[in-house]
Amino acid sequence: MTARWWKLILAALAALALVATACGNAGNDDEGGAPAATAAPAPEEAPDDEPAPAPEETDDEPAPEPEAEPEPEEPKEPEHRHTFVPISGVPGVNDDEIKVTSIVTISNNMLGTNIAAYNDGIEAYFNFINDTGGIYGRELVLANKRDDQLFANQAESLAMVEEDDSLAAFVATLLFFGADTLNDAGIPTFGWNIHNEFADRWNIVGNIAPSCIGCIHQLFPWVAHQVGATKVGIFGYGNSENSKVCAEGTRDSIEHYSAEAGGMTVEFFDTSIEFGLAGGVAPQVSEMKDKGVDFIFTCLDLNGMRTIAQELVKQDHRDQVTMYHPNTYNHDFVAANADLFEGDLVFTQFVPFEAEIDSELQRRFFEYTADLKLEEQTIVGWLNAHLFYDGLLAAGPEFDRASLMEAVRSFEDYSHDGLTNPIDWNRQIALPNDNPDADYEYRCVNAVQIVDGAFVQWTGEPGKPWMCWEVVRTDWHEPEALTFVN
């Protein structure tokens, strides 16, 4: 390199330094975090700690929320549900309707699951509410279904904000780049929480709360221990950080509780496989067979699981191994691959359709989705819509966007009438990885087993599908079978 070039480089560096001193970043602005507006607390006739269950006239159901203050156990529909108060200036609300918008990855979805079923779940729930008289004299309407086409959800979010004719947003997207657009605009946003964007944003809530990713927990060794496994293999995708972190958390958990879980060891660990598995997994499966692996955890999609299972069959090791699936709660897929997955365990974040609990919301779900093909996303939409409705009810008849979110964030023990692990929406905003205070009270596992191409509830006891550990107890102990129906 000639001297001229060096001079040039030095000059460039000097210029850069100059710019550096002159520049800053525009006010590291408030990315959500705080209430979007200084909204007035909920109107007086709506006690915001009293979200009511959905049911109509039936009063045999327990209320979903046992609150800190001893409230009457009587499940009662708040009298104000049908109170009509004229409202103006609240987007999406007129005298007849409360309109919401959904943003869903419909086209360009390459996940292998039908995300569009999310809209079905919302509409089913709205039908149920509207059939029972709506709320505040109005009907709930999913007025605008936007397709984010995988890459356009920020633009779609902005378009929705600018159109300003919806009260709230419902989001089920594979990527969520519109999160700040919605949050900063103060749009109450309910969504399918598969992203870290669901953390740290006041106006965004999911079907579950932000969860600890890659954290050490006894759940993994316990599950493997239950089927008598001692030698574990773990797979994660090498081109996804998410998958990698998940796999590492599983490994660390098993190594941490190795002795307590009967001397369980991680015999095989590979986070270098590529999405699509074009090169197959034959050498890896050979290695697992050589090492006598009898349980496989993965952080893969359902198609990846299929490739591994096929290779296990090919190498005559399938019967010796139980696989634990994080993303395979798909009835058609499992039915089509019944032989491949016999005996495997599938994890869900809600009470699966196979586990009946004493929940009015679950009964209504089956009632209103009877003619739909059920997908995981159907119930996610249903749960989101339920939280939205409960928030509205708690916000009172003179609601607006801010009071709706205030109300949602005031729910301290919210389990969607037992369908999910209870969430303290007030406390659980941040990612628990850095903020242990923001974690769930319980860490629970809800799993089904694949038997003859169908799912059978595997965890818990009849009526108590969840197996849970208190998060604060890190010593090895048996989980407790629970139900969160109140």
Partner: protein
């Protein structure tokens, strides 16, 4: 004793990995042979191969899995009928007419098709509600297991794939060696014009070879269905990329022209893959990468850079080179003063109107769209610099844009340094990476450069992005603030738009300066005649490395601004390698040779799908891929771009009109008849 036991164990593992690698290699080989076949028979480096394979695979899936046709009928339709017909259509409607175009022009067309065909298929066959899974191979009971030598398990699918691939290669060899069609294909490839003089109907032969290669692509599509895990990936044209990259490595071993080398290379690379995974430990990051996502890219890059045969091939002349007419001069250089003033006034009026509307009336959504247009114009100027001025194709501008974006993000997140500095640092890094990347491949030029840059883009995508120091941490997100400097806060949409416009103007001026100055002259010289340029001392690869580096820097600046506009690095939605392919297509279609062309492409990229497709026509946004993808065909005839072409035509028309008004003067001044394009034909 333990040592010998150990050795026996290693030997056993090696043999096992060998048999595990062969079926994978058969997949690579099949794809590699399809590439070679098309290149050999048509001179087209056919990246649209992925699209052709996709269409057959998807047709098969649609018919067999979703409509319950029998396997054989579905295969018959998908592979024996649809694939050759598609090949025939491509040849008749497109490639026949670009016979003599440069290899680079053909590459652009195939890119356009790669983008357009699958989208068109998906628009016709709606997969939105029912996501495809449950891939079923074309072999009945394909998962039945057999044991080689009583111990090495293989499935019927794998055996069938291997047998089909070997049989197909033997059939091809026989075709080329013993049949008249094969001989004619070879002759036509060597010199289409000469063959035609000898009375061979080159058109017919050309159709035949396209049908044949398309048949192979279709066969590859359906055969690969069971070997890749996810139909979701197979049913995306990019789902083929990891396989395509390995296959390209195999094809490169035979310089893209040798079928036996493609076959053996593919098998060998398959075996290398499984051997790596069997013997190399995974506890080290680099070793783990080398047997995982990084492997195909490393293999391809190593072959391109180090395989001597490729160097020799490039040294030997491309027979088609120099056949294509030189690109016409830019309209601006030949237009009259009056026309220039007229165009400038019109442009000024247009931009003033848009400006008034934007800052006075537009809502945030449209301001954001316009900002996006401005930013994409900046990014596309990087394509103008390298492809428009340099005449070469690089497919990793998107990666440089990502480097700029991640640069801004990392500097802001880690050290709380201004995003502007981060963006500039990203640009410097991109420029350096561009230089380092291009030095070994720039001498090769042409399609090799395109292949190498595509491999780099995918390498970045599949391997690098997941690292903290590149793509950021999962836990901190990819937020990027807007900048503030010299006391001005650019956090509002309007202010940020002004900043972007300023950057666009600056970059536009730089591009014009480059075009009109020494570097631009060097590029023009190289474009005009590389031999002559070297005869006066131009170091061709160095000039190209320099502009590549500049173009990388520009892309990174654009990428950084895009991240600031969106307040995050929307990597998956904006910086995906497939998006990058579309960038190139839209820029060359609209006009890669001028700054206006780049800006028009930027506007079209953002505004067209939103305004024209969505709001006016009510069509799905994917139609833009179809429209611009097919428009890439025009590149062969109008390498200056459609808009530049239109401009020249309307200019000629206007000048004719002016001339008609003053026929006497025109006749007096032009003197002896020198026919020019602007001359009115029927003028007395």
């Amino acid at each position: 004793m333990t040592a010998s036991v150990l050795a026996a164990g290693v030997l056993e593992e090696t043999i096992r990995a060998f048999f595990q690698g062969l079926p994978i290699g058969a997949g690579f080989a099949l794809v590699a042979m399809s590439f070679v076949l098309t290149y050999k028979t048509s001179g087209v480096f056919n990246l649209a191969f992925g699209a052709q394979a996709f269409i057959s695979a998807a047709t098969y899936y649609e018919l067999h899995v979703r409509r319950d046709w029998s396997i054989w009928l579905a295969v018959l339709v998908a592979v024996v009928l649809v694939a050759p017909v598609l090949g025939l259509l491509l040849e008749r409607l497109i490639f026949r007419h670009v016979h003599a175009a440069s290899a680079v022009a053909k590459l652009v067309i195939s890119l356009g098709l790669l983008v357009a065909l699958p989208e068109l298929f998906k628009l016709i066959v709606d997969y939105n509600r029912e996501q495809p899974f449950g891939a079923v191979g074309i072999i009945p009971d394909g998962t039945t297991v057999y044991r080689l030598f009583g111990r090495y398990p293989v499935t019927r699918d794998e055996i069938a794939a291997f047998v089909i691939v070997v049989a197909a290669s033997l059939a091809l060899a026989a075709l080329f060696r013993y049949t008249r069609l094969g001989l004619r294909i070879r002759a036509v490839v060597q010199s289409p014009r000469m063959t035609e003089l000898n009375g061979v109907n080159a058109d017919w032969v050309s159709s035949g070879s396209w049908m044949l290669s398309s048949f192979f692509a279709g066969l590859a599509g359906v055969l690969l269905v069971p070997t890749t895990s996810s139909l979701g990936t197979v049913l995306e044209p990019t789902g083929f990329f990891p396989i395509v990259i390995s296959a390209l490595a195999a094809a490169a071993l035979g310089r893209l022209v040798s079928l036996p080398a493609a076959l053996l290379g593919g098998l060998a690379l398959g075996v290398v893959t499984t051997q790596m995974r069997t013997h190399v430990p995974r506890d080290n990051v680099i070793l783990a990468e080398l047997q995982g996502p990084a492997l195909p890219y490393v293999m391809l890059f190593a072959i391109i850079v180090f395989w001597p045969a490729i160097r020799r091939q490039v040294a030997g002349a491309d027979p088609l080179l120099g056949v294509s007419p030189p690109p016409p001069a830019l309209a601006a250089t030949s237009r009259s003063r009056g026309m220039t003033i007229y165009t400038r006034v019109m442009a000024l009026a247009f931009f003033t109107a848009v400006g008034i509307w934007t800052f006075g009336y537009a809502n945030n959504f449209w301001i954001s769209r316009i900002t996006h247009s401005v930013i994409f114009s900046i990014i596309f100027l990087s394509i103008v610099v390298f492809t428009g001025l340099g005449g070469q194709i690089a497919l990793c501008q998107v990666t440089f844009a990502a480097i700029g974006a991640f640069g801004a993000m990392q500097f802001a997140q880690r050290w709380d340094v201004s995003v502007i500095v981060g963006m500039l640092a990203g640009a410097a890094i991109a420029a350096a990476v561009g230089a380092v990347l291009s030095i070994p491949v720039m001498r090769l030029g042409g399609i090799w450069l395109a292949i190498a840059t595509l491999a780099f883009a995918l390498f970045f995508h599949d391997v690098l992005v997941k690292y903290d120091w590149v793509g950021g941490s999962l836990f901190h997100g990819r937020g990027v603030p807007r900048p503030e400097f010299f006391g001005v806060d650019f956090s509002s949409r309007e202010n940020f738009l002004i900043l972007c416009i300023a950057v666009l103007v600056l970059v536009g001026v730089l591009v014009i300066l480059i075009r009109e100055s020494s570097t631009g002259m060097a590029l023009r010289a190289l474009r005009g005649s590389e031999t002559a340029a070297e005869s006066i001392g131009v170091i061709s690869w160095r000039s190209r490395v320099i502009v590549f580096s500049v173009s990388a820097g520009i892309a990174a600046i654009g990428g950084g601004l895009l991240a600031m506009e969106e307040k995050l690095v929307g990597y998956e939605s904006n910086y995906d390698p497939q998006t990058g392919l579309f960038w190139l297509v839209i820029v060359v279609v609209l006009g890669a040779r001028t700054v206006e062309g780049g800006i028009q492409a930027g506007v079209a990229f953002v505004i067209f799908p939103e305004l024209v497709l969505d709001r006016w026509l009510g069509l799905h946004g994917a139609w833009r891929y179809v429209l611009f993808g097919f428009a890439a065909i025009s590149f062969a005839r109008h390498p200056e771009g459609l808009l530049e072409h239109g401009k020249r035509r309307s200019q000629a028309m206007m000048q004719r009109m002016f001339a008609r008004r003053q026929p006497a003067m025109a006749a007096a001044t032009t003197g002896p008849a020198v026919p020019t394009a602007a001359d009115p034909e029927g003028e007395p």
